[in-house]
Amino acid sequence: MIEALQYDFMQHALIAGLIASIICGIMGTLAIVNRLVFLSGGIAHAAYGGIGLSIFMGWPFLMGTIGFSITAAILMAIIALNNKERSDAIIGVIWASGMACGIVLVDLTPGYQVDLMSYLFGNILTVPKTDLIVMGGIACVIFMFISLFYDNILAISYDEEFARVRGVYVKSLYFSMIILLAVTIVLVIQVVGLILVIALLTIPAYIMEQYAKSLFQMMIGSIFLGCLFSIVGLFFAFEFNISASASIILVASSAFFINIGFFRR
């Protein structure tokens, strides 16, 4: 592993994995306690529409995809809020139609699109330096959001109705949370791909929920676990020459199943 770090791409991969783990630890915790996991899946797949749009228009990947994902996420959140009983069906529709848009837009783009697979399964080994800077910036924004509004977020996550009675601006906080979730997902898509993003988002937080005594502990623990999974996953990927994203997710899911077995006893 140490020798691997001589390579620039491995250093970048490690940094990308660690930043992804940090933002996933925080936002994944919020996704779990607010039951936004399915919505996160919807955002991740609808993001493919944004990838298609970026390719079609020739925009930089991050800008187009983040814009598209935020729009899709807000749309899903609004419809889901107004139609709570069928929110899963609505999210499913937007999930699929976002992907379909992406596929058609790529079809319409002349020329052969080489790195399409890297969006589906991620390519942590080719994350450019500028994207690392963007990821770091977003991580700072998420840190600030959480530290400023921790008490309010805790209140709406635990008991939304009571928070509303106490005059907390539930709606604006909820939508800020959805927007940050969408940004997080797009950034992590680069690391593990849109198909696997949900695993990195939810597995650390889900494991930690059983041990944490507070939301803050759950976030810190998830960050730690995520970093551990990324480092171990990257190590296996390098040692056995396997795909890095799948390796990270397999490490995470092994931990998940071991934990379930451990917890049963």
């Binding site: 008490d151 635990y158 008991d159 009571f162 005059g167």
Partner: protein, 268 residues
């Protein structure tokens, strides 16, 4: 008769969910130091009434005034103890964190008052005999203990009214007795409004009863002690009483017929 000034006043309040009328022309005054049990059939509008009073819902017509203010502005006057929901059992949160939630307000950022709020939360928990559970996680408490935590949370704004939605759900019989003793003690300084799903077991300390079934019929303390055996619901045509209100020392408390009530009280 309770001649104290009205704390909460509902005038001609109507509310509909998706065009289905839930409450129609409701008039109700909640006076200081009252202890009201709100009873009625499921879907009769009990919880809707409560949500209107705390300002979570706005009436389609009519007005609700809490100490001369809108319910939203007066939210610190009302301590709200919501119905226990079980879907949050695994949420990682400690008792004191939940109690501190009660101090949230849109104006002052909790951040700056954290120390003061924590001190207050600890004091309130101590008053409720919960000081040994301050750092315990909420999921490991019993139903009765959790209910005390929610009351502690409601007390953080020093309210004048305590509004409880079906507070004894999930509490065993002995816990309920203890819980009602607690409410009785609070009633010395606080007004208590309690929605009760369990019409069989209303505390004997209840001073008045409001029957909610699209309309609201308010029964005063003096009236409750009468033993006119009549049906509580006007649409129940049977002669026998469908519901018994059982309380210690008073085997059968029955309220007067609603028609009688509206003749006397001119509530409509």
């Amino acid at each position: 008769m309770n001649n104290a000034p009205a704390l909460i006043e509902l005038k001609d309040v109507s509310f509909a969910y998706h065009q289905i009328t839930v409450l129609k022309n409701v008039n109700l005054s909640i006076r200081q130091n009252d202890y009201i049990a709100i009873i009625g059939p499921n879907g009769g509008g009990k919880t809707t009434l409560l949500k209107l009073i705390i300002g979570l819902l706005k009436p389609d017509s009519g007005s609700i005034v809490v100490r001369g203010q809108t319910p939203q502005k007066a939210s610190h006057i009302i301590g709200y103890v919501p119905q226990e929901v079980y879907n949050n059992r695994h949420f990682p949160i400690s008792v004191v964190d939940i109690v501190q939630m009660g101090a949230l307000s849109p104006k002052k950022h909790l951040f700056w008052h954290r120390k003061k709020n924590r001190q207050k939360a600890l004091e309130i928990l101590d008053r409720l005999d919960m000081s040994e559970y301050v750092k315990t996680s909420m999921g490991s408490l019993s139903g009765g203990q959790r209910q005390r935590v929610y009351i502690a949370r409601a007390l953080m704004t020093d309210p004048e009214v305590l509004l409880l939605d079906e507070p004894t759900t999930g509490i065993d019989a002995s816990g309920q007795v203890e819980f009602y003793h607690l409410l009785e003690a609070f009633n010395k300084t606080l007004t208590i409004v309690m929605v009760s799903h369990d019409m069989m077991a209303i505390s004997r300390h209840v001073k008045s009863v409001a029957c909610v079934n699209r309309n609201v019929y308010y029964h005063e303390q003096s009236e409750i002690s009468e033993t006119t055996i009549q049906s509580m619901y006007p649409d129940e045509k049977r002669n026998e009483c469908p519901i018994e209100l059982i309380a210690h020392g008073m085997p059968h408390r029955v309220l007067q017929h609603h028609d009688h009530c509206s003749e006397n009280g001119k509530s409509e």
